[in-house]
Amino acid sequence: MIQLLGAAANQTFEMPSIDYHQIAPILVVLGMAVVSVLVEAFVPREARRNVQLVLTFATLIVAFILVVSLAGQRALAAAGAVAVDGPSLFLQGSLLILAIMAALLVAEKGVDSAGDAFAARANALPGSVDEREFTKRGWLTTEIWPLFLFSVGGMLLFVTGSDLLILFVGLEIMSLPLYLLAGMARRRRLLSQEAAMKYFLLGAFSSGFFLYGAAMLYGFAGTVDLGGIADAVNANAGQNGLLIAGMALISVGLFFKVAAVPFHQWAPDVYQGSPTSITSFMAACVKLAAFGAMLRIMYVALGGLRWDWRPMFWVIAILTMFVGVIIALTQTDVKRMLAYSSIAHAGFLLIAVIATNEQGIGGAMFYLLAYGVATIGAFGVVSLVRDSTGEATHLSSWAGLGKRSPWVAGAFTIFLLSFAGIPLTAGFIGKFAVFEAGVAGGAGWLVVVAVIASAIAVFFYGRVIVIMFFTEPQADGPTVVIPSSFTAIAIAAGLALTIVLGIIPQPFLDLAEKASIFVR
């Protein structure tokens, strides 16, 4: 795209040659998102859900196949705007897998007696006659599907963007639909709307920082191309206010998206308030996309300055790990606890960024995938534990779940063990890979700190197991709803991947390893 703009500057407009195959996954997803909007407009209400489901899953699967077909490519595509390289393909593939799993959760219609997890019509007032009427008619908000697809498309773009503009656009395409999705819960709508507003305002605030940082870097380098910035950095190693300001502000935007402390405060509120399936999508996919972008920016554009930004990252990483685990200790809501846990995981992942070596990239990618599958699985389980008012997310109501529903509680336990990094789960291999990168990258003491934080984290993961298995069930406690095959498949897939990645991780590590060099 930069070339495109450059060409424009020279007044001689040349049609850039674009290899559409290389950007096909993004194009397919975004294109089908548009189609999905048209479906909303033209397909009768009764058929919409089914059409949207077919469309969404087909799109995601096709996109995944396209990503696979690109395997091994290494190029700057679309006139340098996007990078088709190992990391971006691996991350896109992971993203699509996670998105399919999350979509399965979103599609669930069997657990809530009134329909799916989304408000019948999001614009109806909570508790109003309208709302009851819509609910009675069994209307569903099928608009979530185009939004979902757009968000996925944004993420795909975000992890491949090779210049700051594309990154910004990707960021926004990813985030804007999510702001809306966060506010569409069928139950507890006040919470949901509050979450949406907070997410939106703070998200927009952070993208302001990101954009201003991009402007500063553009001012410094004269280009927004990541490779170009790297060249400028190498050529101009001295003090430069623009560079520092740009680096700092861009980092702020990224830190916000990955929920690093002190830019994390939106996460617990939004995770708790959003519909659970959307929370799982945010927790798994947004984190993955944001870390993908962060790795690319910090490695490709600012890699030459690593000695400058590393100490700052150390501070943020330590803060993130500790604040995450410590606040999680006293949480009483499962979703909120998982939110703080996700903050802590961001801290662990920052170690991979700090490592600035190939193991760091591979390790982070593996970690993100492992974390993502467990997260979606865990939120899937959360969505099944319900009482008369909807999901029973208060921890105390989970007492004795292990006795009532040993398999569901067992699955949740495996996810928790994976979060905790117990061997033979995916989380352990991920943690090992990231820590290994950290030690190899000279961040040994940071790893020790991380290890201590992990130990604290075990307490609250363990506490959930205690509540589920070691305490007596309450008489009027919640029940586990038997879901339709959507959620069942999602949880089963999460479980299977968590175990497979834990026991035979080598194929995935191979992939991540091969895919651990950025193109620039």
Partner: protein, 99 residues
Amino acid sequence: MSTTHYLVLSAILFSLGVLGVLVRRNALIVFMCVEMMLNASNLAFVAFAQQNGNLYGQTIAFFVMVVAAAEVVVGLAIIVTIYRTRRSASVDEPSLLKY
């Protein structure tokens, strides 16, 4: 006027935007302030484009405007919904999600 002046103006606008987000209660105003931050960036982009002698910055500004428009759509939708539910657009209005 040199680029610096534009940059200073841009910085002031950006700071005002940040300040506005921090001090204003009305969600709409807060949102406006965010838009101001985006526009401060636009100004910076354009100024740098001028300084660097290429059109990247100016092109980016157009993109940002589009994005900002999209953001308005989403933002207003959310804010309006909240307003209808709570009869208030204050960001400090009962916050149920905390701790």
